[in-house]
């Protein structure tokens, strides 16, 4: 395992303009990051709005705060300038389900324009249901059934054309940081996976083994309960192999190997005494490593204050580099295996995770628990209880509800990005629209709409549309027109 290949250092990064995002990604790669995750402006990206959408114009100062504003394939080209994507593992964004097809099609179009064979392109998509429908519910979003169709389209497209690309990544992280506990996170992740697999089996376009290979890339949250998180990752691998064997009769080694990205819990990074978060980041990272993660992101020490400063990002790399190079942690696979405590805990977590999986199935399956709000209810109840235990002091958080004295000799003020990106983004948008062939763009939008209205895979039409420089907001208009909006079970 790590003896031949250490885990991938894989950080989420980006803000402001495409130039600024590219600069930060190159900074991280130069400082030892071994893959990169593009972050998008959430006001525009999550909603598939261009910057001239009235909802965005009303909050124009916010644009670019949480990620770069990337409205067309040209913006992708700007971000990726100077980055050898043929040999660098990339994540083009698209965490939110309706954003996934757009982000992937743009990134793949950049690769094509550079003459890179898509069959060799390494990287991962996300299109995560936990983020989209549970953790970070947006104002407008395609319904869950449409999301399922999009993800099946992406999985099938990758199975056919892109063997080195992980098409989607189920991010239990987003469920866990919304309140699901360890076994609930696991149970829900696999309840999500069977929705994808059952749908692809029903469609019958690719083999179930290929489908399983596409679905077996997940992300988990690693938090401050070190032993439980190690147990969770270990149980996750076992459950995936068993699920495939028992439910789908799949015994293919490669398909049964769960590939795990771990991310340290953002919610456990505290606002007071932010340097304490370097210690928290190290401990959470350690849980991921002892649990055998394939890639790892460590939240910035200023996570509770703002998006990461350059220094916070550098420290997230350094934590991982110290663990990889100075500790001998890479010497052995599954170092906690055989410990009576870890083995017992792993068995317990697994048992309870299957029970929760069954509970979701009894509520009509994963998508139904999102549509009905049942899963939100479970997560909110946990959040409330956790917060109550901090408020009443029964759970101690250093620097927050205990040991509050602070002699840090300098201010950590949070990252301050520009609030004038909206104007530049509007200029770029108008330039794309005036310079592209209006006729070709309109034709490709019609083709996309036609694909959406039938059961044709949307990805080829998406890529043609991106190459014709159709913009993000226009894609959003097509989706909204054809599929309508998800009826949220919480007020947004």
């Amino acid at each position: 395992m790590y003896r031949s290949k250490p885990w991938r250092i894989f950080q989420l990064s980006g803000f402001g303009s495409p130039e600024e995002e590219g600069e930060r990604i190159r900074f991280l790669l130069e400082h030892g990051e071994t893959g990169f995750i593009m972050e998008h402006d959430r006001n525009t990206g999550d909603h598939l709005y261009n910057v001239d959408h009235p909802e965005v114009m009303a909050r124009r100062e916010d644009v670019g705060l949480t990620g770069a504003t990337i409205q067309s394939v040209r913006d992708y080209e700007t971000v990726l300038k100077g980055i050898p994507i043929e040999s660098t593992y990339g994540h083009p964004g698209g965490g939110v389900v309706q954003h996934g097809p757009y982000a992937l099609a743009c990134y793949w179009t950049v690769a094509r324009r550079r003459g890179i064979d898509l069959g060799k392109l390494p990287g991962t998509g996300q299109s995560d249901f936990f983020l989209t429908y549970l953790g970070c519910v947006t104002k407008q979003q395609v319904p869950t059934q449409t999301g399922l169709r999009f993800n099946a389209d992406i999985i099938e497209f990758c199975a056919e054309h892109m063997p080195h690309w992980v098409p989607v990544s189920i991010a239990g992280y987003n469920g866990a940081d919304t309140g699901l506990n360890a076994y609930q996170e696991l149970g829900a992740v696999f309840a999500n996976a069977v929705e994808y697999l059952d749908e692809i089996q029903r469609r019958g376009n690719i083999s179930i083994v290929d489908a399983a290979k596409g679905v077996g890339g997940v992300s988990f949250r690693v938090g401050m309960d070190l032993f439980e998180d190690v147990a969770k990752l270990r149980a996750g691998r076992k459950m995936w192999a068993e699920l495939l064997a028992k439910r789908y009769n799949i015994n293919d080694d490669k398909a049964q190997r769960l590939r795990i990205h771990s991310l340290t819990a953002g919610s456990m990074m505290m606002y007071p005494q932010p340097l304490n978060n370097l210690v928290r980041g190290t401990i959470m990272a350690l849980a991921g490593v002892l649990g055998g993660t394939q890639s790892l992101g460590v939240s910035g020490y200023d996570e509770a204050l703002s998006i990461p400063s350059e220094h916070a990002h550098q420290m997230s790399l350094r934590i991982q580099q110290i663990l990889q190079n100075e500790t001998n942690l890479c010497a052995v696979a599954d170092p906690m295996g055989g410990s009576y405590f870890i083995e017992t805990l792993t068995a317990q977590v697994e048992e309870k995770a299957w029970e929760f999986f069954d509970e979701i199935e009894a509520h009509g399956g994963f998508l139904n628990t999102l549509d009905s709000g049942w899963l939100h209810q479970v997560a909110h109840k946990n959040q409330f209880e956790e917060q109550a235990s901090i408020d009443d002091g029964s759970k101690i958080i250093v620097g927050l509800n205990a040991f509050a004295d602070d002699v840090t000799p300098f201010d950590i003020d949070g990252f301050k990005s520009s609030s004038s990106e909206w104007k530049h983004a509007l200029e770029r948008l108008n330039r794309v629209k005036s310079e592209r062939s209006a006729k070709l763009a309109a034709e490709k939008m019609r083709d996309l709409e036609a694909a959406c209205r039938t059961d044709t895979n949307i990805m080829p039409a998406m890529m043609e549309a991106m190459d014709a420089e159709v913009t993000m907001g226009e894609i959003g208009d097509v989706f909204r027109n054809v599929f309508g909006d998800w009826q949220t079970p919480i007020s947004v």
Binding site: A58, D62, T66, G135, A304, I390, I490
Partner: protein
Amino acid sequence: MSALGKKILLAKTGLDGHWRGVSLVEKRLQEAGFLVVMIGMATPDEIVSAAVEQDVDLVGLNVGGHIEVVHKTVDQLNERMVGVPVFAGGAIAPWAKKELEDRHIEVYPPGSSLEDIVDAAFRLCRINVKASTLKIEAQINPKYSADGAKP
């Protein structure tokens, strides 16, 4: 009307869907006896119009973005609803927290205790009660029925 006879408007100024903090605050304020009008993601115009129409006693803003939008909202609010207090929460950096506090907007960053937030609501609505004297039971959000069906 609520047990306390006081109304609080809660809104998210940004389109960034981090709901964890604001839903905890919503639930706890309801349990403390406030009538909470939660309008979700809203523009400055929408927030101010809702505050005026609902004639609220306090406005709570969940900030997931730059604070210029908060300034814009508070400026408009001050024109149309003189004297209505505002408090804010969310990932507000220390420099931004100070800027808002300078214009008398109380700020509750991540990790703030819900009891402190409820106390702030009592104080800003001029109710002479302390959250610590209330017995508040954790309960499931009443928006959802027991079997998770939509209301």
